[in-house]
C-alpha cells in the first residue's frame, strides 16, 4: 500500500466539499476556483475540475451564468443553488464531525 494512494484518495474525498465551499463565498469561474484549490494544495491541474463541475451542475447543486470575457471565449461563472447550499451544510456537518473524530483519536 502506497502512501500516495491514500493521500490521493483523501484529497479526492474532500474535493467536492471544497469546491462547494469556495463557491459559497462568491460566484467564480473555474480558473478562480482552481487558484484557491491550488493554494490549498488540494488540486494540481485544472483538467480535473471540469468534469467535477459538470457533474455537480447536473446534480442540481450548481448553476452557471455566461459572462463575456475580454481574453477569450465567454466564461461560465458557477454559483451554488439552494440544493447546493443544503448539500454543503450537510457536508460541513459531516466534515466537522470527522475532524473532531480524527482529533479525538489522535490525542
Amino acid at each position: 500500500m502506497k502512501v500516495e494512494n491514500t493521500k490521493a484518495q483523501m484529497r479526492k474525498g474532500i474535493l467536492e466539499y471544497c469546491i462547494l465551499t469556495v463557491l459559497s463565498k462568491r460566484e467564480a469561474y473555474p480558473s478562480d476556483i482552481i487558484q484557491e484549490l491550488k493554494e490549498a494544495k488540494l488540486i494540481v491541474v485544472e483538467g480535473t475540475l471540469y468534469p467535477l463541475l459538470t457533474r455537480l451542475k447536473n446534480a442540481g447543486l450548481l448553476q452557471y451564468n455566461w459572462v463575456e470575457s475580454s481574453s477569450g471565449p465567454p466564461r461560465k461563472y458557477y454559483a451554488l443553488t439552494e440544493d447546493g447550499q443544503q448539500f454543503l451544510t450537510e457536508l460541513k456537518k459531516t466534515w466537522n464531525e470527522l475532524y473532531e473524530a480524527v482529533q479525538l483519536i489522535s490525542k
Binding site: 502506497k2 500516495e4 494512494n5 490521493a8 484518495q9 479526492k12 473555474p30 480558473s31 494540481v44 491541474v45 485544472e46 483538467g47 480535473t48 471540469y50 468534469p51 463541475l53 459538470t54 457533474r55 447536473n58 470575457s69 481574453s71 477569450g72 471565449p73 465567454p74 466564461r75 461560465k76
Partner: protein, 541 residues
Amino acid sequence: MNKTISINIAGFVFNIEEQAFEKLSLYLESIKRNFQHEEDCDEIMSDIESRIAELFHEKISDRKEVIIDSDVETVVEIMGKPEDYISDEPQAHAGTQSEEQAEFVEAEEVKSEGSTKNNGRRRLYRDEQNGSVGGVCTGLGWFFGIDPVLIKIAFVLLVILGGSGILLYIILWVVIPEAKTTAEILEMQGEPVTLDSIKDHVQGMKDGVKDGASDVKSNFKKAVNQGVKASSKLAQSLSKIFGILFTIGGIVGLLVLFIILFGDTGLLPLVGTEQVEDLPTLLGILYPENRSGMVFFAILIVTFIPIASLIFTGVKMLFGITTKYKKIAITSSVIWFIGATTLALTGIELGMNFRNQVEIDYEVPVEVDSTNTLFVDVAEDDIFSNFIEYNNVWNYSELIRVEDEKVRLGYPELRIVHKNDSTDFEVILYKGSNGLFHKEAIHKAENIDYKIDASNNTISLDPYFTINKEERLRNQQVIVEIHVPTGKKIKFGKNIDRIQVDVSDDYYRHNEMFNGTTWSATSEGFNCSECRDKRRMYDSF
C-alpha cells in the same frame, strides 16, 4: 521555418505549428477517452476547449502570432496530463477507480524511465492492419495474448470440418469493431492509453518500427513469453506445412478443373473416358440456347474461385506473406455468390423443364413362323462401338454423342416379358420424355427417332436413338418390350451386349454371356439354354 495550420477552438481561430497541432489533437483525443462513456462528455470537452482557447489567447500577442510546441506543453501542464483526468463514476466503481487513479499518480511520480505499467485493460478489436482478411484472428490473438496463427489454424480446421468456420468468421467480423484510432489499437494491444503511449505508437508507426510488448516484464511474464514464442514457432512450421498442402491441393484441383471445363476428360483416369463429350457441349444440349454459356461461366466461377483462393492462401502461408488482400477477398466472394445464385436459378429453371413425364407406346408388327423362335439382333453401332458393353458403362454421359444438330443417345432398353394369355409375339416400342408441359413432353417423345427392323423371324434393334439438338435432353427414353407367349423362344444374336437387356425382371444381362443364348418361355417362366453358368450371372453383380 515551420508550417502552420489554422484551427478553431471554442469559436476562436488560432494559427498553430504543425507539430504543436499534432500534440494538441492527440492530447484532446486522449482526454476525451476518459469521458467518452459519460453523457456529459461533450459539455466537459467544450469546457476544456474553452479554457485551452483562453490559455492560448494569453500566449498570443502582436509580436507572437503562432501557437508553438512549448505553448501546448504549458497548456498540458496547466490542464493536467490525460492520466489525471480519470473520470469517476462515484457509485459502482469507486474502489477500482481510486485504485486506478492511485496507480496513475504513482506512475507519474515514480516515472521509471518513462515506462508505464500495463494496466491490463485489454479490449477486443479487429486488427485490420495486421490481419489477412478482416483481422478477426489477429484481434483475438491480441486479446488472448497468443499467436494469431494458432487461431487461424483453428478457423481453417473448422472450415474443413464442416465449414462452420466461415460463418463464425463472418459473424465475428460483423460483431467485433475494428481498431481504428491509435487509442483503440493501444487498447487492443493491452497498453495503457496515455499521451506518451499514443505518441510512442504514432512515432513507432512513422519509423516503421513495430512496437513490441511493454518493457515491464516479470520473470513469470518472460516465461509465458517464451512459451508463446515456442508455440509460435510450432505454429509457423504448421503454417508452412498447411501452406504446402493447400498449394499442392489447389494446383491439382485447378488442373482437374481445367481439364473438365476445357479439355479432354480422357486425360483423367478416374473421372471419365475419351467417350465423354466436353462440358460446354453437354451443357449445350441440356440448357436452353441462351443459358448454356451463362451456366458454363457460372460453373467456372463457382469452382475456380475456391481453388484459386486455396492456392492463394497456401502460397501466403508458405512464404509468410502478411499483406492483406481484403478487396480481392471481398470482390471474389461477391462474384462467387453471384455465380452460385446463377447456378441455382438456372438449375431451378432447368428442373421446371422436367416437370411432366410422358410415355407413348407403339406396336411393332412381327411375324414368326412355326419355329416359334424370335431372333433379336442389335444393328452395327457406327456411333459408339460394338465393343462397348452396356453394363460396363458407369456414366450415361459416355453414351451421348453430339453430331451437328443431332444427339445420339446410346441407352435403349430391351425387356423380355413372359405372357401366358397370348399365343403370338408382341413387340411394343415405348418412347418417353419429360417436358415443361404435358404437350411439350408428348412432342419430345414423338420426336425421338428409333428404328426397329422386323422381318424373317428376326427383329433388329438400333443400338442408339436420336433426338434433334433443339429438343434438348429431357430424360428421353426408348424401351422395347417383347412379349413372349408360353412355348415360344427368344434367341439373342450379335451385338446384344450393346443395349440394356432385362429378361422378365429375373435375369439382368450383365456381360457378354447373353450373346447366343436362347430363352424359352414356360409356364414357370424363362428357361435358358446355352447359358454357360446361370449362377455366375447372378453372382457377377
